[in-house]
Structure formats: C-alpha cells, structure tokens
Subunit: 189 residues, 2 copies
DNA sequence: GACCGTAGCACTAACGGTTAGCTTTTTGAA
DNA sequence: TTCAAAAAGCTAACCGTTAGTGCTACGGTC
C-alpha cells in the first residue's frame, strides 16, 4: 500500500500525456469530427479502454488541463491580500485568462472548438462547473458577507465575462466593459 | 405546391405529439437513462427514423416546446410599450417563467432533468441559444443605445437569473435579488 | 375521376462514442 | 521470489444517430 511512489505514477502520466498529445495533433490535422477514438488510440498505441481510463470522454481530450482554470479563479479569491476588494482581483485573473486563450498560438485550437457543437457543449458545462466552484469560494470568504444567491450570481457573471470577452472583437476592451457592469452589480448587493 | 393544408399536417402533428407523450411517460416512469430510443419508438408505434425526423435528438423529446421560451423573452423586449424601461419588463417575464417551471406539477420533470447529465448539458446550450436571441433583440431596440458587448452581457445575465432562480430555495426572492444586481449593471453601461 | 409529385414513414444496416467483463502485464512491496 | 494491486489490453456489445432505399398516402392538377 502506502503511496505508490515513482515509476508507476510517472508512467501513467506519460501515457496520459502521449494520448492527449496524439489526440490534439490528429484533431488539428484532420478536424475533430474526422478523427475517431479508435484512431487516436491506435496512433497513441494504447487500447481504447485505456484511453477512456485516462479521459472521461472524447471532448475531455481537448480540454485536458481545465483544472488550471478552476484553480486560478478560486486562487484569485482565496489568495488575495486581506482587505483587497474581490471584483478587481477577479478582473485581473479573467483578463489574464482571456489573453491566454486569445493568443496567436491558441487560435487553431479555439477555431476547432468553435466549429464543433460537441466541443462547444462540453465547454459550456465546464464553465458552469467552474462557476459553481467559484461561487463556493466567494461564499466561503469571511471578509465578504453576501447571500448564497448573490455569490452564485456574481460567479456566473464572472464566468460570462470570460466567455463573452473571448469571443469579442476586442477582448481587452470587452473585459473592461463587462467588469464595469459586474462591479455595479456587486455593489448593489 | 402551395401550403399543404389539412389532413397531412394534422397527421404529422399527431404523430409528433404521440411520440413526445409516449417518451415523457416512459421517461418519468422508468427514468431518462433507462429508456432507449428504440423503446420509445416501439411504444409510440413508429420507426426510429420517424422519431428522429420529428426530434433532432433524444434530449429534444424532453424540451419539446422550448421555442415558447425564446419567443416570450424577445416579445418582452420588442413588445413593450414605448418608453417602458427594459429591465423591469424582462424581470416580469423571467418571474413568470420561473414560476411556471417551479410549479408543483412540473417538479418531476425538472427532477428528471437535474438528475441526467445529458439533459443538463442540453438545457445549458439551449440557454445559450436563448441568450443570443435575446441579445439580438436588445441590440435591435432603437430606443436603447448600447454596444454589442453590453447587449450580449445583459442577455446572459438575464438568462442566468432564470437558471439561478429556478434552482434557488425561494425562487421569487432570488429573482428580486438578482434583478437588483442586473438593474445596477444595466445602469453602469 | 385518373395522375403525379412529394411528404411522411418504414426498414435495414451501419457508424462512432462508450462501457462491461475478463485476461494479461507491470510494478511496488514483503 | 512471491504476491496483490494497478494499469493496460481485448472482445463484444449497447446506445444514439444517420445514410440509403423504397413504399404509401395525401394534395393539387389535368
């Protein structure tokens, strides 16, 4: 028992990474819909069942590291200095995340996502999960005193900001504009 | 050509309705996931392909009349009296919609939806569609002068209000609380 | 009333994502 | 070396969905 040390974990992580990399390469090369799970598994030289033991679904192959997203947002709430206001902290984080995914080299991936209904759906429910996590972090902040509904509402609005800004013509300006609205909403609680 | 009047339309509508009713009955009886498409088709005495010619997907069987939703929201925007403010009009409509789907007799259906990941996903992307439609209606209103981003943002917030209030312990109070925030956000534009 | 185009429906067979059941290999520890 | 468990593998299926094809009944036209 104890903690499975070393090699086992590394090998598992390596297998996972190889699957993810292979999948991304094939998807970008031939299109998401044109590449089947069996094809990805064969190219990565693993069994289909192995692939699904590492990733819950085909879509999850594309959003490999979405836990970053969640962690960075909650970190922005729980990790800010005492007496620092909530909304600006979230604004900075969202700004950074939007910039990250509107960067040049991320463009092909997001184009692929936008073109596939399945991937869009998946991202939508991912966002809702993130909003719930963020809402929990906001609700748990002892410096703030707001109802459960207000926490969940602000969390949704913040996630909306990310989603809307990402698609806007001028993402930076959109973040500014939307966060002015969120700030007002927050002060109305 | 012209408009195919009469019997043909009635028969088609009857078939559609029979499929929808049968599906709902089976879903509520045995659970959404436990009932297969082939089963629904057999019970409704139609071919599987016929079922899919009336409904785009299994989930669509549950959200049979979601176009109402979209129409009522855009109507609340475009059909309000001149010089009437936007947000209160939307608030009234959302209030009504929330009440409608938190009514006693709708409870089993919504419990079923909440329990099925597939149905939740479907509803989420439905909401996004509705938000886009609503955003277009707001942007088209000549009395209002707001950026495209502001329109889309307010539309999202309004749809969020519906979604959050529906799940809240006290839906009426939640609508009030969230719309106070939306009102503030709107005035900040 | 006979005729024709088409809408609606049926049937089969398949495709692609996903899972269950079971066996084999690899790994860490005794 | 030996053993238990984790990881990976294989087969075979399930389920939602679609393509291909043909039949039937309806609505409009002559």
């Amino acid at each position: 028992m104890t903690v499975p040390s070393g090699r086992r974990e590394r090998k598992k992580a390596a297998t996972r990474q190889k699957i993810a990399d292979t999948a991304m390469r094939l998807f970008l090369e031939h299109g998401y819909d044109a590449v089947g799970i069996r094809e990805v598994a064969a190219e990565a030289d693993v069994a289909v069942t192995t692939l699904f033991s590492h990733f819950a679904s085909k879509e999850a192959l594309v959003f490999e590291q979405d836990e970053d997203f969640e962690q960075r947002l909650t970190q922005a709430v729980t990790g800010r200095a005492p007496n620092q206001p909530l909304i600006p902290a979230l604004r900075r984080e969202i700004q950074a995340l939007v910039r990250h995914c509107t960067a040049e080299d991320a463009a092909p991936v997001w184009r692929m996502i936008d073109e596939s209904p399945a991937l869009r759906k998946y991202e939508e429910s991912m966002r809702l999960r993130h909003a719930e996590t963020l809402a929990a972090a906001i609700a748990a902040d002892s410096e703030l005193s707001q109802t459960a509904t207000a926490s969940r509402t602000i969390a949704r609005f913040v996630i909306d900001a990310y989603s809307l800004a990402r698609e806007a013509a001028d993402p930076d300006a959109a973040v500014d504009e939307i966060f002015r609205m969120i700030e007002a909403a927050w002060e109305a609680t």
